[in-house]
């Protein structure tokens, strides 16, 4: 049993776009140790993206490489969720987002590790260890920021509130899903809730936005991200790097 191209691209693009946003922090983190940690997380995500994109190319069978898929698709062909594509220049927002994403990816990759597609299952088995580290890191910072100073508490709550509308899109039905996204919802929300409570924060109650990333419907932010990311590659068609 083989996953659909679009399903694999959804997994790959979540990782790739996250890595692209995460790498913004390198040289801009609050302390040097965090430059290292965020670079590490970004590298893990990029690594996941690369294997997943290569596999999507294999499933598609049209000879497209990881670079073809990363650099030569337009935003309408990207399949990532909105959670990962918006700019994040506030450390609290980055950690709130990473908490959501990594908790989701932990459950997802754990489930995929025993799915019917052996390649995907192998990729997921490796990735689940990486995202568990990401989740630990996000949890630690959620605690520090939520239960730190009055200012950090306020900012971390605002960050959670800002990211919350983008949570539900993770659980929307996807064509050809090997793991039903809605089946992950209880464990993901429970995982987030417990750390949020321990961090003396409130679970937000804001309504979800409409979303649509899995169908190629994005925010206006993705196009600018891709412009920067793809410009050099597209400027030299056919070149080797």
């Amino acid at each position: 049993m083989t996953a659909s191209v679009d399903y694999v691209l959804g997994l790959a693009d979540d990782a790739l776009v996250s890595a692209q946003r995460m790498s913004w922090w390198i040289s801009r983190a609050p302390e040097l140790e965090e430059d290292l940690a965020l670079a590490n997380i970004g590298l893990d995500q990029l690594g996941q993206a690369r294997t997943l994109l290569s596999y999507a190319g294999v499933v598609e069978g049209a000879g497209r490489t990881e670079d073809d898929l990363a650099y030569l698709r337009d935003d309408r062909d990207y399949r990532n969720v909105w959670l990962v594509e918006r700019p994040q220049t506030d450390f609290g927002v980055t950690m709130a987002r990473l908490l959501v994403l990594s908790t989701y990816q932990c459950e997802l990759y754990a489930a995929l590790a025993s799915c019917g597609d052996p390649t995907l299952s192998a990729i997921a088995g490796k990735a689940v260890k990486e995202v568990a580290y990401h989740r630990d890191h996000a949890r630690l910072w959620t605690l520090r920021l939520g239960d730190g100073t009055e200012l950090s508490h306020t900012r971390m709550q605002a960050a959670l509130d800002a990211e919350w509308p983008f949570v539900e899109e993770l659980f929307e039905p996807v064509d050809g899903a090997l793991v039903d996204p809605s089946s992950l919802r209880p464990a993901v929300l429970a995982g987030i809730s417990s750390v949020v409570a321990e961090a003396t924060l409130e679970l937000p109650t804001v309504a979800p936005v409409v979303g649509g990333g899995r169908r190629g419907l994005h925010t206006e932010h993705l196009g600018h991200l891709l412009a920067d990311m793809q410009h050099l590659h597209r400027s030299h068609p056919g070149a080797t790097w």
């Binding site: 790498s23 290292l36 993206a49 690369r50 670079d67 605690l143 070149a239």
Partner: protein
């Protein structure tokens, strides 16, 4: 009280000075300044290469570049830790960087204009750094020497990656070849200047040599770098922008042209292409992160309280 004699005996035996050993104040101050400047250079050096992470032309190159810039952060950490063994605080050193009281390597005040610059920095700038740093692995101060062993190993890895980037470009499309040549044209002379002023204009070198901090003169190291780099440039198929480079059979070294240090003086004076951007970037990140560092401190204090109360 520093017993000059014990310290001098140690140096004479080529032994390692360790943090709790007696040492002259001038030795300590010189080391702090040099190690801090070295650490700052790693941190500021993250920026020119970081500028291309978002635009790296393949995912493989993107991953390699991210890992490299991450290594630089790691080098900064080792080096600040080495400086701290001399009784200073990392936060003070960073403050001195931000307020311009301590320097970083001027090479990082040049911009990375094209992807090939990432290759040129790896090949030439890391190459020059290695030539400078390998002797420091035998520096008289133990913690610094040990940090340099680790740094040098990674730097030589980075240098090979830079060489490989340029090799691919040089043998790629005409536009890629031109990009590589252009980067080498721009980075060659600034790389030579990384070794500092000529020996007859380098007032502090003698003392550093006597103290076993410096092992070779600026001009010796520069010559070693030229000798190492010229054959590599031939392997790359790229030209170094100095018509006077030629093998001198008699000296057993490559001759090269006269360096125009006046530009370097401008850059050191703060008017280089990127001085202001580099410091603004660093200070901005530090200020933006203050609330995060404060939160971590407050959280640890609360946790310690809770543990104490339990």
């Amino acid at each position: 009280m520093v017993t000059g004699t014990a310290f001098e005996e140690l140096l004479a035996e080529d032994g390692r000075v360790e943090p709790r050993d007696p040492m002259p104040e001038g030795y300590r101050r010189t080391l702090v300044r040099q190690i801090a400047q070295h650490a700052h250079s790693e941190i500021i050096g993250m920026q020119p290469e970081g500028n291309w992470i978002s635009r790296a032309p393949s995912l493989r190159r993107k991953a390699i570049l991210m890992a490299k810039v991450q290594d630089e952060a790691g080098h900064g950490l080792y080096l600040y830790a080495a400086a701290e063994t001399l009784g200073v605080d990392r936060s003070d050193l960073i403050d001195q960087l931000h307020t311009g009281r301590q320097k970083y390597s001027s090479i990082f005040n040049y911009p990375t204009l094209t992807w090939a610059d990432v290759g040129a920095i790896g090949w030439l700038v890391d190459g020059a750094a290695i030539v400078n740093q390998v002797p420091l692995c035998r520096c008289s101060y133990g913690p610094y020497a040990r940090a340099m062993v680790r740094v040098c190993k990674e730097e030589s890895f980075h240098q090979r990656q830079g060489f490989e980037i340029l090799h691919t470009l040089s043998h790629g499309t005409p536009a890629q070849h031109a990009m590589a040549q252009d980067a080498v044209d721009r980075y060659w002379w600034p790389s030579l200047m990384m070794f500092g002023p000529p020996d007859d204009d380098s007032p502090n070198s003698a003392q550093s040599m006597a103290w076993g901090i410096k092992r070779f003169s600026n001009d010796d190291l520069r010559q070693r770098f030229v000798d190492m780099t010229v054959p590599q440039s031939e392997a790359l198929g790229l030209t170094l922008p100095d018509p006077e480079i030629r093998w001198n059979e008699e000296r057993g070294h490559y001759d090269f042209g006269t360096i125009d240090f006046s530009e370097l003086q401008q850059v050191i004076a703060g008017n280089g292409p990127c001085n202001r951007d580099r410091i603004d970037h660093r200070v901005g990140a530090h200020e933006d992160g203050a609330w995060v560092r404060d939160a971590a401190t407050a959280y640890e204090a609360k946790r310690a309280d809770r543990v104490g109360a339990a």
